[in-house]
């Protein structure tokens, strides 16, 4: 049981992620999360404003169901499978974060400075959260995929486009982490 309750090492998680991808193809579909954002837009009536969203969202119900599973999976893991949610970070990272204004790094999964209710209801905190979402949603659809569609499927297919996109993920991530985050908190 400890094997399940302790954090799972990378060499367990990576192959299991690949197995999830395999199962989606085995069931005749594809593996990608960010296209669901477009389906949600279409469901919400975005077709009235932008023609692209006039597609029949019901044809993507299989993928919305997959996403509903992600939510349930998060609930199950949180309730029963992860009694200790400290993250064993590199001590250098804890030090780095403390210097840029994020305390108690790794004590839990998420920093309070970004995800606590106090942060959510502050102007800066709200802008960080909505801004992060906007960038991820816009960028993922501009590039035509996120970490699942480009990162896992595209790289596994050795698509040139996915190497460019994942290179972009890293350029953007490095700019944010090294050049912008130190000035936000």
């Amino acid at each position: 049981m400890d094997y399940i309750l302790n954090p799972w090492p990378w060499y367990v998680a990576g192959p299991l992620i690949a197995f999830c991808m395999y199962l989606m193809f085995y069931f005749g579909k594809k593996f990608g999360v960010s296209s669901n954002l477009e389906t949600i837009c279409s469901m919400a009536g975005a077709g009235k404003l932008v023609n692209y969203f006039k597609f029949d969202w019901k044809k993507n119900k299989w993928n919305l169901t997959f996403v509903a599973g992600l939510i349930i999976g998060g609930f199950i893991a949180n309730q029963w499978l992860a009694p200790n949610q400290a993250v064993a970070l590199n001590p250098d990272v804890i030090q780095d974060l403390s210097e840029i204004g994020i305390q108690n790094a790794g004590a839990q999964y998420l920093p309070d400075e970004i995800f606590s209710l106090d942060a959510l209801f502050s102007l800066k905190g709200f802008l960080v959260l909505i801004g992060a979402g906007l960038l991820v949603g816009f960028g993922a659809r501009y590039a035509g995929g996120c970490t699942s569609g480009h990162g896992i499927v595209g790289l596994s297919k050795l698509y040139k486009e996915s190497f460019i996109a994942v290179g972009g993920f890293f350029i953007g991530g490095l700019i944010m982490t090294w050049l912008i985050l130190p000035y936000i908190f």
Partner: protein
Amino acid sequence: MKYLKFLLVGIFFGIVLFKAEVISWFRIYEMFKFKSFHMYGVIGSAVVIGLVIMFLFKKRKLKTIKGEAVHVEPKKKGVAKNLLGGIIFGLGWALGGACPGPMFVLLGKGVVAIIVVLIGATLGAFLYHAFKHKLPH
């Protein structure tokens, strides 16, 4: 009922992302600081096994449940769209510490603030399609 299998794969994928700490903001920060192998190991080993699976799909050693060959859609060409879209995505990934899959897992974890991130992501997808004709591809 015909969608139950997708629900189950989703639940399993969600548990994997949770248990491997892929949904932790700190793990994403640590990855971009090159201070831990963990995230590189997760993505790298997924891709290595993925390569084998894709090879077996191509050789038709692995097929769909109906016994048909697996077709994987090609990605749309264009250096500008993949690079610029990728960079914008990366900025958000490192800021919020979550890509789309983990956002939904965090919602299930009960993180209220992630609702704002998800609204932003949905709005971002909308804005891309509203303004894509003005962007380089």
